[in-house]
């Protein structure tokens, strides 16, 4: 066999190949779809995704808006980071608000300290319909979860926004085909092949800006479900829980009611790279209460139309 490799080994480093592949996907989807949008939570993966999108279309302006699915229960540092980033880029920000969905009666109010993660799906799908988006870029990675490990880079969603893992489109070579009928849409995941370590090494190489909560800082926390949860307006200590001041950082950033911190003294990206390279617990395992409900929590959410 004398065939050339599809993605051959060159002297080019691994991060550059991942970067190039992600940019390739961003350009394909932007070219083939009418109205794409980039999902931006202010977390590290979406910060990397946005950084790549900016590079893909520079010196032009970003050819699509960014959308934040806002649970109304955010870390204030993350919201400030979101607004600053969007302003620096002069990008258009669409906010899909869970609070509005609650106010309009689209979803039941889970109460003042209830988890709103699952409600994001309704706000997201409503916004996709309202704005007529036919593709949404997300920063999901296949190493995050066993259901995500199964998902295509271009993931087809039917008119109800649902993912059917039994009926995924074949996805051959790098021929990403993004045609959909009216009402259907795609999720596009340019970071599919990246690992958590790749993300941090890339952040280090490219100096990607992040919200400060990713770096070690002192915070009042309580121990709950084997996680450190920050005590703030969304989380109150329950009877028997002791508030402690600890040096922590966040490995993922999501809804403030269900995202836990990890103990860490890593104050620089370099230190975080070292920490991630030797971690024994996965990032979602360490920090996300929402994945612990059941064996297939992520798959169930994704079928409904979650990120």
């Amino acid at each position: 066999m004398t065939l050339t490799s599809l993605r051959p080994q060159t002297t080019t480093d691994h991060l550059s190949l991942l970067e190039s592949h992600a940019v390739y996907i961003l350009r394909e989807v932007a070219a083939e779809c009418e109205r794409p949008v980039l999902l931006f939570s202010g977390g590290k993966d979406s910060a990397v995704l946005l950084h790549l999108a900016v590079k893909a279309f520079a010196p032009g302006r970003l050819p699509f808006p960014v959308m934040h699915v806002d649970t109304g229960q955010n870390f204030p540092e993350v919201l400030a980071f979101r607004d600053q980033t969007v302003a620096n880029l002069n990008a258009r920000l669409v906010i899909a608000s869970v609070q509005e969905a609650i106010d309009r009666g689209r979803v039941a109010d889970p109460g003042p300290h209830g988890a709103r993660n699952r409600l994001q799906t309704v706000a997201l799908l409503d916004a996709i319909v309202e704005h007529g988006f036919d593709a949404a870029f997300g920063g999901a990675r296949r190493d995050e979860d066993k259901a995500r490990a199964k998902e295509r880079i271009l993931s087809f969603r039917d008119a109800f926004g649902q993912w059917d893992p039994r009926q995924q489109r074949p996805e051959l070579w790098q021929l990403y085909q993004g045609r959909v009928n009216a009402g259907e849409h795609l999720r596009a995941f340019p970071l599919s092949d990246w690992t958590e370590l790749d993300i941090w090494q890339y952040i280090e190489r490219e100096n990607v800006a992040l919200p400060p909560i990713y770096f070690a800082h002192e915070r009042d926390v309580v121990r709950r479900d084997a996680m450190w949860l920050a005590v703030n307006e969304f989380i109150e200590p329950r009877p028997g829980e002791r508030v402690e001041r600890r040096l922590v950082r966040y490995r993922t950033v999501g809804d403030a009611t269900c995202t836990g911190a990890v103990e860490s003294d890593a104050v620089t990206v370099e230190a975080i790279v070292r920490e991630v390279a030797t971690a024994n617990v996965s990032e979602r395992g360490a920090t996300r209460a929402d994945d612990r409900f059941s064996e297939t929590a992520m798959e169930d959410r994704k079928r409904e139309g979650y990120f």
Partner: protein, 418 residues
């Protein structure tokens, strides 16, 4: 910290229940790639479903239906690294009705990790997978002759599968193949060498994967190719053309031809995303280039170095058909090739491949999962290479005009073994 740069992309291949997922689970567990919580979750799920202490197939079989039915439905991608290299692993399904998913996993792989149940030998489905892997251009084969524990580690049982595999692999044109007697279930010869096979002196599966050169790039001289994805407007009115390099590297000063127009011009500037690479326009990098001459180049066009690809509206190709309705002469579809989508029509069906014998027989239709030879006509001209010369400019997919589903994988030209 050291950055590993060497990556091997591999896909599992073989019939259902021969032990592919268990082997990948074993490989990941024994090389300590799983986080503690992930391993705990697999242990818990095994317990809950009453399948023993640790069902290793649950490491990759992550969907609810997969665990309920004990089968793999779609490809799982896992990432692993050892001090030697990084691995991108696609654990593919074995069932014939999920052949489209197997092809998905194998289309980006450089090496097929074939798993054969030693008690059953090569099944038709394994032959089909090997045939598809060969058509797709997977170069290396590592064969785990599995479930050796069930045949009392018999060297003759191992050898008879090796003989069978070598015959088929030879017919399909694979050159270097490594066969390893394994028990994925017990871990023999996967990561750790087995005490049960003193008669076997070869590598473990992991060693075979770590030393395979299937991912190495033969320094082919098939010509640089840059399918244009996007036109970037530069300040001051100029334009650059963005895409991913393949075939050969591009450099500033290279003479290239804009196709299908056929305009010869020169690359006057080449921009990369990151300035650290040894070769600016290396294969696999997304770049953008400025050209010396004014052209109307745009998405769907291609910049090529010598030897030039062919510009044509008629192509002879090999297709793997995944559609539910049969493909026949006269079928109308959409075709995506590089960055161009164009209407296409099947002009003739020139043969159907019998995967058991590799003979090409006459036929009027391709049914789901059939492989066939076709002549296609396209509305727009395509800029193609033979698939064996270039996996990017030699490949296309066919798209159903109504549902927009991807219904075929197409390769320009015909494999030598057909």
């Amino acid at each position: 910290m050291e950055l590993t740069t060497d990556i091997l992309r591999l896909a599992t291949v073989g019939s259902v229940d021969d032990g592919k997922s268990t082997l990948i689970g074993r490989l990941l567990v024994d090389t300590r790639q799983l986080f503690d919580d992930q391993l705990d979750a697999v242990v818990n799920a095994s317990e809950r479903r009453g399948v023993g202490d640790l069902d290793l197939s649950f490491v990759t079989d992550g969907l609810r239906a997969e665990r309920e039915q004990g089968i793999t439905i779609d490809v799982a991608y896992r990432y692993a690294s050892t001090p030697q290299r990084k691995f991108i692993i696609a654990d593919c399904p074995g069932h014939v009705q999920y052949t489209r998913n197997m092809a998905t996993g194998a289309s980006t792989a450089d090496l097929a990790l074939v798993v054969v149940d030693v008690a059953h030998g090569l099944k038709e489905q394994t032959r089909r997978h090997l045939c598809i892997a060969a058509l797709l251009g997977v170069r290396g084969l590592v064969v785990a002759v599995n479930k050796m524990d069930a045949v009392h580690w018999s060297p003759t049982a191992f050898q008879s599968v090796v003989d069978e595999v070598e015959t088929v692999a030879g017919e399909l044109g694979f050159d270097a193949i490594t066969c390893v007697p394994t028990s994925a279930l017990l871990g023999d010869n996967v990561v750790d060498a087995s005490d049960h096979t003193p008669w076997y002196a070869g590598p473990t599966v992991l060693e075979a994967l770590e030393t395979s050169d299937a991912g190495a790039w033969s320094n082919a001289t098939n010509g640089a190719r840059l399918p244009i994805q996007w036109v970037l407007r530069q300040p001051g009115g100029g334009r650059t053309y963005a895409g991913m390099v393949n075939g050969e590297a591009l450099h500033e000063g290279d003479v290239v031809t804009l196709l299908p127009a056929g305009i010869e011009t020169t690359i006057t500037a080449l921009n990369t995303l990151h300035s650290g690479a040894d070769v600016d326009g290396a294969v696999g990098l997304s770049i953008d280039v400025a050209l010396a001459d004014e052209t109307d180049a745009g998405r769907g066009d291609l910049l090529a170095g010598a030897p030039l690809p062919h510009v044509t509206r008629e192509i002879a190709a090999t297709v793997c058909w995944f559609g539910e309705r049969p493909l026949t002469t006269g079928s109308r579809l959409r075709l995506k090739h590089t960055t161009r989508v164009t209407p296409a029509r099947i002009v003739s069906l020139d043969g159907v491949v019998d995967v058991a014998t590799l003979s090409v027989d006459p036929g009027d239709e391709l049914r789901t999962n059939d492989i066939g030879l076709v002549q296609l006509a396209t509305a727009d001209p395509l800029v193609v290479d033979d698939y064996r010369d270039n996996r990017v400019t030699g490949s296309f997919v066919l798209i159903d005009e109504v549902t927009n589903a991807t219904v075929a994988a197409g390769m320009v030209g015909r494999a030598t073994f057909l």
